[in-house]
């Protein structure tokens, strides 16, 4: 180190800092463990990280947006930089977003990046969830981690929906009234719940916007942040799962790259890279041009509206339901929007929450699992998972039937009728096919294994003769 006095200086400073910190916090033992925490190396483990980094971008861009957004539905007449809306009546909320987009430097960039980050955040969570599901990472001892994750997905969906609604453009108003109607359709308490939340009938009292605002910028983000902290803490306490990529990787022994120096620059790179991609998208790819939709009024709507991708499955569920309310002797018990807008997501999330318990019930598997399955290792789980995924995806596609009609001229009613049947038939079919493929893959692996053994035996016999 003689030829490199600068590094020597840095090392001395590092030592002094560590000592200073340890003397005051007694944290050196924990820091030492944290530095050498092991990350098994597999690309699919990065999906959860991307979700985390998208969340950070959401918080950072969101804080900037709060300095300009006005959470009020008080009516104003717009006079600003965007000529086509000049002289129109609109809420202060919508006017402030239009102003942010046209009158504030870099305002549009940050707004669009925020919106893109929301889409990527939920996409990353869903992909992470699929990875966790199909590899059995949720099994004992990591059920708590999994349940926290599913809860965060629910909160993220609500958070995104409220954020989308806050803008008060025509599309966001249409989304809000649909959500209101789904709530109203909840049997026994729907009308009271919605009156209570909205401060009265739709479009609600003047307190609705402050309520949604504080939920969007404080309550939901803090809940997500707390659950995120607990989620990461639980991951670290029990350590990461791992695939059996090397012989040394067993249920007792974890093999991976230490947090320092191996993993830290890669993870930081992923964080900065995620932010970079989101800002590129926010600057170059237009998303939700709210000034084109115009302000919301209860008496206006527009055709061909599609929600952000993560609500597409609910639009599909609502559109697929045939016309009926559940009535008993003229008494309405369950109005129609309940089925597609509430029952459908309740079934999907109920499945997600119950799955670890259901699987343990049926397989009787009470063991500890640090090693991950490959999808083929658990054909039943993979089959059921594929069936559930294809169910939700088909309903999602059904929600886009109107676009297919406009683009390809396929009859809308014909598509809806086809989907009403296909969403029940195809998932079963896909599930069975996936199950069969897993079985075949298992069989081909054992064939390969047997062939290798036979070849070795033959070689041995040749040598002996």
């Amino acid at each position: 180190m003689v030829g490199c006095p600068a590094l020597e200086g840095a090392a001395v400073i590092a030592r002094r800092t560590v000592r200073w910190l340890d003397e005051r916090t007694a944290s050196a033992p924990y820091l030492r463990k944290a530095l050498r925490y092991l990350f098994p190396d597999h690309w699919s483990f990065l999906l959860g990280e991307v979700a985390l980094y998208a969340f950070l971008v959401l918080v950072a861009t969101g804080i900037y947006l709060t300095f300009f957004f006005v959470d009020s539905t008080k009516e104003v007449v717009y006079h600003g930089g965007y000529a086509p809306l000049n002289g129109q009546r609109m809420s202060e909320a919508y006017a402030s977003v239009v102003h942010l987009s046209f009158g504030v430097r870099a305002g549009l960039l940050l707004r669009q990046t925020h919106h893109w980050a929301a889409n990527v955040f939920i996409a990353a969570i869903v992909l992470h969830l699929l990875r966790v599901f199909f590899t059995g990472a949720y099994r004992k001892p990591r059920e708590l981690t999994y349940w926290l994750g599913v809860t965060m997905l629910t909160l993220a969906l609500l958070e995104a929906y409220v954020g989308y609604s806050l803008v008060d453009d025509l599309m966001s108003g249409m989304g809000l009234v649909i959500g209101y109607s789904v709530g109203l359709a909840l049997p026994f308490f729907g009308e009271n719940l919605m009156n209570w939340l909205f401060g009265g009938m739709f479009p609600g009292s003047e307190q609705l916007w402050p309520r949604m605002y504080i939920a969007h910028v404080l309550i939901f983000p803090i809940l997500i942040g707390l659950l995120l902290g607990a989620h990461l803490l639980l991951v670290a306490m029990r350590h990461h799962t791992q695939f059996r990529q090397r012989r040394a990787q067993t249920e007792r022994t974890i093999v991976g790259v230490p947090a320092w120096p191996g993993q830290a620059p890669r993870s930081l790179g992923l964080m900065v890279g995620t932010a970079g991609v989101l800002f590129l998208l926010g600057g170059l790819v237009q998303i939700n041009p709210v000034w084109l939709w115009g302000p919301f009024h209860t008496y206006s709507s527009t055709n061909g509206a599609q929600p952000d991708w993560y609500l597409g499955w609910l639009i599909g569920g609502l559109r697929l339901m045939p016309s009926f309310d559940l009535t008993i002797a003229g008494y309405t018990l369950v109005p129609n929007p309940f089925w597609g807008g509430a029952a459908f997501p309740l079934v999907v999330f109920g499945f997600l929450y119950l799955w670890p318990w259901l699987e343990r019930r049926f397989t009787g598997d009470e063991a500890f699992h640090n090693l991950l399955d490959r999808p083929r290792d658990a054909p039943a789980r993979t089959g059921i998972g594929i069936a559930m995924v294809s169910w939700v995806v088909l309903v999602f596609f059904a929600g886009a039937s109107d676009r297919v009609f406009v683009t390809f001229g396929l009859s809308y009613t014909g598509q809806i009728w086809a989907y009403r049947i296909l969403v029940w038939v195809l998932p079963v079919l896909f599930g069975l096919v996936a199950w069969r493929i897993c079985k075949e893959l298992q069989a081909s692996e054992s064939v390969v294994h047997e062939r290798h053994e036979a070849e070795a035996e033959a070689r041995l016999a040749r040598i002996q003769s």
């Binding site: 430097r105 789904v182 401060g199 830290a264 620059p265 964080m271 929007p337």
Partner: protein
Amino acid sequence: MPALPAPGAENVSRIRNAIVSALVLLVGRGRRRPKPEDARIVPAQPAHPAAELAVLALLGLSSLCALGFILVYAFADSLSNATQFLGAALGLALLFLAAALIVVGLKLVPSEEVAGEYPPHEHPYEQQVIAEVLDESGTRFTRSRFFKLGLLGAGGTLGLAILAPAVSFGPLFRVGDFLRTPWRRGRRLVDEHGEPYKASDIAEKNFYLAFPEGVNDEGKEEMAASLVVIRLKPDQLRLPSHLKGYDAHGILAYSRICTHAGCAITLYRAPLFQPDEPKPALVCPCHYSTFDPAAGGTVTFGPAGRDLPLLPVYEDSSGHLRAKGNFDGPVGPSWWGVRLWKAQP
């Protein structure tokens, strides 16, 4: 013949040895022994000058882009595509930095794969201690059942007390609100600017937005205020018996709010000459609930579970359209029990 050592010399040399070794030990204690190479924690690996150069270049590019962002921001008002340039500059600055970090991670820090132990499945000793502490802490309570009841009671009532103020969020048990409409017998139908509609204004194959005369902008937003008004040929009407006389010579005024999910009905399929879908239809663009205006707003397709409410109208002596009464059913999306009620003035 070797000289015999003096008596006691053996003891002297032993003591000397002890002193010397003690001194060596004392002096050597504070001194760091050079570590052999294989005792390092992080393995030594050769330098990689090309990678270092690449990292430096990437960091330089990142700084350039970041400076570019500041420049574009400063002159944003005179640029027509400021958002695109800002996004590209900031995005690239971040991506170059990310690339630099990843080159550092893959090429410049020692690459190592380390094996470690997973934590034990459980800690029986600690579990035992916790259980004992919990057991032994409660021995002074002799009426534990009453205590549990008391705690539950206090906790429950206090919880209710804390939650009670949340009741003020909104009105509860006020179904009446859902049924009230601004429509009265004799109230004129006006357009967006408050101009009254004449029956002769309503043409076939078109549809009109109408409000009750005299409502302000806030009143227009009420679900029960807005109407979609159309004209059909009187011989095309197939109104059910309880809706007979709701039309004014073929002019029909339906609630504009879909009974499914509350969106505004802004699509009208006028009866044209298409052979395959000849029926007229009012359609909600949210979930394509389709209502037949000729048959009193019955649902012909889509998810709506309830007919579209129809407002009875008539043409007064001056030719203006007026409400004859109230809607035939509650307006807007349904709630449980909706069919028990009628729209109220």
